[in-house]
Symmetry: C2
Subunit: 171 residues, 2 copies
């Protein structure tokens, strides 16, 4: 189930994020302002602007999967220097391509993996704790914050844009 | 793992939400305005105000767990008539008390449970699809949106308030 919670679901949410950013671009075009205004918007003066929210969402997916599979040393590095919409879309696609390199079998030991990261100063979480209490809440936080910045600025996005399509079966 | 993803984690996030709302109350006191201004705030004119965001977060937890355990008919009903901070805090506590009635064993068949709800017009999802693609993204969406409304209005909340404490082990 850890695979389902991460690789395909993160891929889907990044698709949704990409589509929401295209809606932002269309809105900027229709109002004749530069989309970079939206990319540099925030909801509070000491909050990260939209570009950084997208970068962190991507890194939460990338590093979450890397740490859960014990492969963080092999994860691609990103310079966090995206400044344009096209560069942000490329960052999303790069993250999706990285996610696609994993299969369910790679997560066989993920729940009991001992997880740490530099800012934890040597402290650890189990893989399950890390996924449940850290990766998932953070990933959805940064996607939702990106959405909220755009929503606040008048972009016509709704809950369905955030959730994406559901794999409903007919009754 | 479905139990860990829902009952204890939702309980924790609702604790965090409750603490964030208390920060909103302290901010209102310090600035000498009524906290109901914040409770009725939103980021866009056609977005649900904060009270409704909290109600939906609570119901996403309640109905998510109820549907995953096949007990939706026994879930408590809420009238969604909260208007004050204290009433919202009570709604959160009620939701937590309901979550506490479940044990891990109640989720034994949750992944393969056939899930539906009135607005799906008879269509279904598996329990795992429902959890991964619907319940978790929605729950974190409404908590983050509540946080974002308060952050935008100057309440001193940060990521740690949202995530809550981590069960770190010493190195």
């Amino acid at each position: 189930m850890i695979y389902q919670l991460t690789v395909p679901q993160f891929h889907k949410m990044l698709d949704n994020l990409s589509a929401i950013l295209q809606k932002a671009a269309a809105y900027a075009d229709s109002k004749k302002f530069d989309v970079s205004v939206l990319l540099n918007s925030r909801l509070a003066p000491d909050q990260f602007a939209l570009i950084r929210q997208v970068q962190i969402a991507c890194d939460t997916a990338k590093l979450g999967v890397a740490r859960l599979t014990g492969t963080v040393d092999q994860a691609p590095k990103h310079a966090d220097d995206e400044a344009t919409l096209e560069q942000l879309q490329q960052r999303i696609r790069d993250t999706q391509a990285y996610l696609a390199t994993f299969s369910a079998a790679d997560f066989a030991n993920a729940a009991t993996q001992v997880i740490t990261q530099p800012r934890w100063e040597g402290k650890t979480l189990s893989g399950e704790e890390f996924l449940v209490q850290h990766v998932l809440p953070n990933f959805y936080f940064h996607i939702t914050t990106t959405y909220a910045i755009l929503r606040h600025n008048g972009v016509d996005v709704g809950k369905k844009d955030y959730l994406g399509p559901m794999p409903y079966r007919a009754a």
